[in-house]
Symmetry: C2
Subunit: 357 residues, 2 copies
C-alpha cells in the first residue's frame, strides 16, 4: 500500500511538554458539517457602553465604581474562584491509612483572582491595539507578577484571556484574568516535570531545543521577530493552536529587556491580526502565559522558559468550531488538518487587519 | 478564621484514576451569567425523518442505503478518523538521536470507526427507551467488541456517545460511535497506569476499593441496583459528571452475566431519566465505556474494572453550560458546586421521565 503519507494517513503525535498524545486524521477534512453553528461576534460595538461593568466610570454588579482609567485597569474579581480569607487545610491522612483518606484526597487552595482591562475602549481587542498599547498590557502583567511575588506566599500567577462568547467570555470589553493560587496548577506542574526530566537526560532546555528544531525547517512557524517565534506546534490539538516561544531561555516576564518586551507586544499584535484575518472575524480563543512560579521551589526558575499558548476553537470559517468531545474526552484528543497545513493557512493571510484596510 | 468548610472554601480534589487534580470553588455558585446561551433541543421530532442519514431505508451522503433495520444498526463511519488501509508507520529514530527525531515523534494509527444506531425511531433517546431496548444496545456493543477482538489485531475499542448539539452531535437520531485503534488511547492508558500502581502498592483494585468507600457513606451515589452504582465521583470536573461502576470486578462487557447486563440497562435508563428531569430538557453529554483492551498486553485484563463516564456540560438550567476554558486549559479544571451538592440535585428529581407523566 505504498509509503506512509503524513498528509493523508492517520497518526499520533507526541507532546513532550505535557507528555501526551494527539490523534491526527488529515484525510478527514472533507467531512461535511450539519451540526451547531456559532454566532459571530456582533461587531459595531460603541467605544463606551453604559451597561458594561468594565467600562471606565461604571458601577459593577457588587457595588464598586470603576475609576476613569485611561490605559489598563486591574481589580479583584467580584466572583473569584479562590479567596485569601479562608482557613488553611492540608489533609492529615496518609496514603497508607484507611481507604477513605487514601481515595478521597483534598487540599485547601487560597488565592486571589484579578480582572485586567486592556483598554478603556469597549470596542478594541489586542489585534486592534497599537504595539505601545499592548506594551502597557505587558507592563501591567509584569507589575502584578512582581507585586504578588513580593507581597504573598502564593505559588503561581496564571494569566489568561478568554476571548469570544464561544470561549465562555461574557463581556466583549477587552480584558484578561489572572488567578493567583497557593498550589502550582496541574498544567504548569506537568510542564515542569517534563522540562526537569529532559534537562536531566540531555543537559539542555526542551523548549530551547524545540525552538532550534523549528527554526531549522520553518514549516510550522507563522510569525517571528528577533526575540520571539509563534508556531503551530508539531503536537497541536486545536485546529489553529499556536505556541509563542521566547528565542532565548528567559524564565518570566520580569526578566525581559525593554527590547524583548516590545518584540513580544509586536509578535502578539502580528499573530492576533492574522487570526482575525483567517475567517474575517474577531477570532475567539483562550490564551495564557506559562512562566516561572512567583514563589518557586527547587530548580523551577532555572527550568522555566517563558511561553504562551493560544487555543482557538474555530475549524472551518467563523461559525464552525472543533468539538473536543466523545473520543477526545474518553480516548484522546483528535484533529483533522495537520499542524503544517494550519501553519500554511495562517501564513497565507494578509498582515494588515481586515477592518483597517 | 474558624475551621475549613468544604461547602464554602476553595480546595483541590485528587483523581486517583487519571492522576490529576480539580479546583473546587463552592462559594462561587452565586455568580451571575451574562454569556452565551445554548439552544435547547428542538423536541417534537418525527419518528421518521426523510432527510436523516441514520433513519432506516434512507440514503447516506456517500451513497449507501441503510437497511430497514428494526432494532440496532451498525455501519462503518463514512468519514472515519482512522482507516484500515494505510501503510504501517513506526518512527525509526530514538530518543538519543538528533533533536528532530527526539522532539518530533509520531506513530501510525490504523483502525476502524463505527456508527451504532440505538433504534430505528428518530425521536427517542436512551432515557425514552425500555430496558430490553437498551439491553439490545448492550448486546450490539458486546457483539462488536467480540468481533473486533477475534478478527483484528487492533488494541482498543472506544465506545462513546455525543448527545446534543452542544456536545458536537450533528444528528439527533439516537446513536453512538465506536472507534477501534491499533494504539491504546491516552485516557484508558492513564487509567491502566493508575490501576497498575495502586494494585502494586495495595494489592487490591482501585475501583473495587472506591466502590466500597462510596457505599459506606452514600452521599455521592445517585442510583444503584444489585450489580451497578452511578455516583458523582469525589473528583468530578463537569458539574453533573457521573461514574457508572460495576460492583464486582469485571473486565469488560463480554464478561457480564445476563443478570448484570439487564442491571446495566436498568441503571443507564434510571440515570439518564434523572438527567433529563434535572432541567426538563434532553440532557446533553458525552459518555463512554472503559474496559479491557480487545487485544490486551501484560496484566491489562486482570487490572480492568468495567466502568462508564458521563460528562454533561450543563451547569444551571437547560441553556447555561460550564465552560472549561482559560484557567481550565492553562491551569487546571475548575468547578463551582461540589460533587456532593450535584449528587443531591440528581437524587432530588423524580424517577419518571417528565415527558411520560
Ligand atoms: O463524528 P462526529 O459526530 O461527526 O463528530 C463529533 O465527534 C467526534 C468524536 O468525538 C469529534 O472528533 C468531532 O469533533 C465531533 O464533532
Ligand atoms: O470568570 P468568567 O469569565 O466569568 O468565566 C469564564 O472563565 C473561567 C476561567 O477560565 C471559567 O472557569 C468559566 O467557566 C468561564 O465561563
Amino acid at each position: 500500500t505504498g509509503t506512509f503519507d503524513f498528509n493523508n494517513d492517520s497518526h499520533r503525535r507526541y507532546n513532550p511538554l505535557t507528555d501526551s498524545w494527539v490523534l491526527v486524521s488529515p484525510h478527514r477534512t472533507q467531512r461535511p458539517w450539519q451540526g451547531q453553528q456559532e454566532k459571530t461576534s456582533a461587531g459595531g460595538l460603541p467605544e463606551y457602553d453604559a451597561s458594561c461593568y468594565l467600562c471606565p466610570g461604571n458601577v459593577r454588579a457588587t457595588g464598586p465604581v470603576n475609576p476613569k482609567y485611561e490605559s489598563t485597569f486591574v481589580f479583584v474579581n467580584d466572583y473569584a474562584a479562590v479567596k485569601v480569607d479562608q482557613p488553611p487545610y492540608e489533609q492529615s491522612g496518609s496514603d497508607d491509612d484507611d481507604l477513605k483518606s487514601r481515595l478521597l484526597q483534598a487540599q485547601g487552595t487560597r488565592g486571589t483572582c484579578f480582572v485586567i482591562c486592556f483598554s478603556p475602549k469597549h470596542n478594541v481587542t489586542l489585534p486592534l491595539m497599537s504595539v505601545p498599547e499592548i506594551g502597557n498590557v505587558l507592563d501591567t502583567w509584569t507589575a502584578l507578577y512582581n507585586k504578588m511575588k513580593t507581597e504573598t506566599t502564593f505559588r503561581y500567577l496564571q494569566i489568561f484571556e478568554n476571548k469570544g462568547a464561544v470561549m465562555g467570555c461574557s463581556n466583549p470589553h477587552p480584558h484578561c484574568q489572572a488567578w493567583c493560587t497557593e498550589n502550582l496548577p496541574s498544567e504548569p506542574a506537568k510542564e515542569f516535570t517534563s522540562l526537569r526530566s529532559y534537562r536531566a537526560k540531555h543537559g539542555t532546555c526542551l523548549l530551547c531545543d524545540y525552538a532550534t528544531v523549528e527554526q531549522q525547517d520553518p514549516i510550522r512557524i507563522v510569525v517571528q521577530n528577533e526575540s520571539f517565534i509563534a508556531l503551530v506546534p508539531f503536537w497541536a490539538v486545536w485546529p489553529f493552536e499556536t505556541l509563542v516561544l521566547a528565542k532565548s531561555h528567559t524564565a518570566s516576564l520580569v526578566d525581559f529587556s525593554p527590547k524583548q518586551k516590545t518584540d513580544l507586544a509586536d509578535l502578539i499584535q502580528k499573530l492576533t491580526i492574522r487570526y482575525d484575518n483567517l475567517f474575517q472575524t474577531s477570532f475567539p480563543y483562550s490564551m495564557g502565559l506559562h512562566q516561572a512560579p512567583i514563589n518557586p521551589v527547587e530548580d523551577e526558575t532555572q527550568l522555566s522558559h517563558f511561553h504562551m499558548h493560544f487555543y482557538p476553537p474555530l475549524l472551518r470559517g467563523a461559525t464552525v468550531r472543533k468539538f473536543l468531545v466523545g473520543f477526545e474526552m474518553l480516548g484522546e484528543p483528535q484533529r483533522d488538518l495537520t499542524a503544517e497545513q494550519a501553519a500554511d493557512r495562517i501564513r497565507a493571510v494578509e498582515e494588515v487587519h481586515y477592518l483597517l484596510k
